[in-house]
Symmetry: C2
Subunit: 76 residues, 2 copies
């Protein structure tokens, strides 16, 4: 089964990568770029029957740094 | 307006980051992890009226390395 996890920096946490992209888009001539936030998409191919709790545990232990990141789980 | 862009490695392209995560999950005791692919989520805050073509151009020029990556645009 396929599960997707989106991991984003929590609001308020400085996002240097996002800032860098915003500046680069500006210098490429794209105006109207008011903000950019960059995060991770993790697509997991898991054995059938894997529960959302197990995926949550994967996020808490490894996939997300829960001090500065939040995550959303999209089950298969 | 908010636009989300998912950038993933094209199928067939080796994903060392995904492999590293897969091994780490295994060593943390999670079995049944058959595959892991990791990509980027880019959330853009754009001026109202920005067209999908403009976002496509941003992807082609900067946000995705179209030789090895594919992207999906989710307009606001």
């Amino acid at each position: 089964m396929k599960v997707r996890v989106d991991v984003m920096l929590k609001t308020g946490v400085l996002d240097p990568q996002g800032e860098a992209v915003r500046h680069a888009l500006g210098s490429l001539g794209f105006d109207g770029v008011e903000g950019v936030r960059q995060g991770k998409v993790i697509e997991l191919e898991l054995a059938d029957g894997t529960t959302e709790d197990t995926v949550k545990e994967m996020c808490e232990k490894l996939l997300a740094n829960t001090v500065i990141e939040s995550y959303r789980i999209h089950m298969g």
